[in-house]
Symmetry: C2
Subunit: 406 residues, 2 copies
């Protein structure tokens, strides 16, 4: 008989996985997966060969010959890229390469928050951050987002009320450029107001810009890190959305008073070096062109998704087509509970993110997040048709589909 | 003026890094770095090209198409390799690929220990485990190691005494095959005794076998995981020592009652996929031959190191030449404090591990760990000569060197 570890596993841990993973759902509208056909396999292979031939022997040392902040050539690419795209002035000493931006988030939380702390978040938000902060026992105060991003007048009220109660938030977390899940890009005015408020209340801003390169127009406002003159912003980014999510490479930009602590907390003996080498070699030459191509392909998939939703859900589904990103935030009628809908759909091979996992707003269970980068256009069309049929069967809406009564 | 994050950083964290890393020391005898000249760059490049051409598009999905336990082809390689080398019977469902074995250690600790718990460790031990357990607030009870490995009669006494005090250890941590830092290989009799004791006292064994392939003779006893019939062993291994440490790929073997919990705790969205793909592609064909070659090169470096120590320290340095691995555990006379010696040496470009970081034994500060895989034979010779000169200057020993009085 096998020893049952359950009897000695610590209490208060996340519930265990029940069985090994077997396969993706047929219609996979969840997760930050990307478009496989946009991956430049030939150029990536060429980059990998070049860098291995030239520097492969350095794999024999932990962290190559670059130290714990990560492969120097990749940090040097980022210095130039962040200047060009986000107007950030920094040096390679200000950048830490992480094992995905999730590790950035974990390290920053280890440094800056503890149980009982308060943080401010956008009301609809990245599920991975909401679940982490919940697990840490942190109180989340939320501020709504509209088409210009976080509503900073609400933030001002929130900060004033917290101050009256003697509470200073550990940080203000924001995804200003291609907000997750709404896709909104925060206006420059709001960015400046956010920075002014953080300065006035002497707190810090945690800027998460994992999607910021995926903007259809190719134009974006400067990052909060760039606009802030007081160095109270910690900036996080990733290669998951621009190159490939299975490569676990993200980065953190911060001044040394935080960076030194993040390094002490990063006890993993470095992030994967080959992935860093490949990215530096490839991106230094090809990043901008690749992202342009990727955005064209993603925008086409978004258009397919919107057309499918319009056709299958009619006016029962409302959304704002986002200016970039890989997801669409959709609202359904009050009759629908998307937590139940997600469960029904999952049983039939359609995976969606129910709104309550991605939002603190009161009507979160009318919302769902649909990720469109990974499935083919045919899969998007068939999956949305199937989702509408399931929704109609279970909740009676949408009443119309394909311009016909159901 | 820059915002100073120090004023808001949590208390009780490890001390921050003081400045960015700049370079390795000239004579680098610390860390698990490997021999750069043993790295098979051509074959690794070929493997990388093959797997990218065939499966590169799967990088567009998190965890490829293999799920959170890691790239299936790598787990399938491990199933066969662990059977062949360690007599382990397992399936790919029993294996979790980690971001280095350090992540395995962190996940197992999250699942199984909490502040105030007691664990049993070998008295001289891997510094990374000692520092982690200290940070977690765990009480370590230590058992001595001799040339046959952990002295299990002492373990029996320890377990009995703990039981009298109502204490059941959370686990017994052991590095049975090429013990760190002594290089000892635990005998089969001791292994069986250890398993019997764990079963009798109903506790579990945490078997860390990162160095187990680096055995000069090519022969090793079966792993504890293989010998245990009650499935109370969690087994950890790594590709850092056999292929390359900068690739951050390790693995955990455990029954599902633990595996399901480790998966729930591994919230990093997967370990680096390209490194897993490269390893699977390369190791399936070339692992055994490569490890044979590597061991020949490592043994030569060990011989050089031993000759250098004999020449420079004479009889003032005592050690047992290990049957495998990448480090030598050396004892100096009582006049020497290796914590001070390490600081003096560091200032002159010679890095060594002082014994107190790698051992709980009373005379730890007479010991030092010297890693020999990374430096060239010339660097080993020059570095040991320099270390002996510094030691003589600061502590008056060794009195003789190069068969001459100093």
């Amino acid at each position: 008989m096998k020893f049952d570890f359950k009897k000695i596993i610590n209490d208060n841990l996340p519930p265990p996985d029940q069985a090994p993973w077997r396969q993706f759902p047929t219609y996979n509208f969840v997760g930050g997966h990307n478009d496989p056909d946009s991956l430049p396999i030939e150029l990536l292979t060429h980059a990998c060969t070049s860098v291995l031939q030239r520097e492969g022997k350095t794999l024999a040392t932990y962290s190559l010959e670059s130290g714990p902040q990560g492969y120097l050539a990749l940090r040097e690419f980022l210095v130039k890229k962040l200047k060009r795209t986000a107007e950030i002035d920094c040096t390679s000493d200000d950048i830490l390469i992480n094992s995905g931006s999730l590790q950035s988030i974990d390290l920053i939380n280890q440094a800056l928050v503890k149980a009982g702390d308060t943080v401010i978040v956008e009301e609809s938000n990245y599920g991975g951050v909401l679940s982490r902060l919940n697990r840490l026992g942190v109180t989340m105060e939320s501020v709504r987002v509209d088409h210009e991003g976080m509503i900073t007048t609400e933030l001002a009220d929130k900060l004033a009320k917290l101050k009256q109660r003697g509470i200073k938030p550990a940080y203000i977390y924001s995804i200003p450029t291609v907000h997750n899940p709404t896709g909104t890009i925060m206006s420059v005015q709001r960015r400046q107001h956010l920075i002014n408020l953080a300065t006035e209340y002497d707190t810090v801003i945690f800027e998460d810009e994992c999607y910021a390169d995926l903007v259809w127009s190719g134009e974006r406002p400067p990052s909060l890190y760039a606009m802030d003159t007081t160095s109270r912003v910690v900036h996080v980014g990733s290669f998951s959305k621009t190159i490939a999510p299975a490569l676990r490479v993200g980065y953190t930009v911060a001044n040394w008073s935080l960076m030194g602590q993040l390094l002490a907390l990063k006890t993993d003996a470095g992030s994967g070096a080959l992935e860093q080498m490949l990215l530096a070699e490839y991106c230094t030459e090809h990043f901008d062109q690749h992202v342009n191509n990727l955005n064209i392909n993603l925008k086409q998939k978004l258009d397919t998704l919107c057309q499918s939703i319009d056709r299958e859900f009619g006016t029962d589904a409302t959304y704002e087509s986002p200016p970039g990103g890989i997801f669409l935030w959709v609202k359904l009628p009050a009759a629908v509970n998307t937590e139940s809908l997600a469960a029904f759909a999952e049983a039939e091979g359609v995976a969606i993110n129910p709104g309550h996992e991605w939002s603190l707003q009161a009507d979160a269970t009318q919302h769902l997040r649909i990720c469109f980068a990974n499935p083919s256009t045919e899969t998007i069309e068939a999956g949305i048709a199937k989702l509408a049929a399931i929704c109609h069967r279970e909740f009676g809406v949408p009443v119309h589909g394909k311009n016909q009564p159901r």
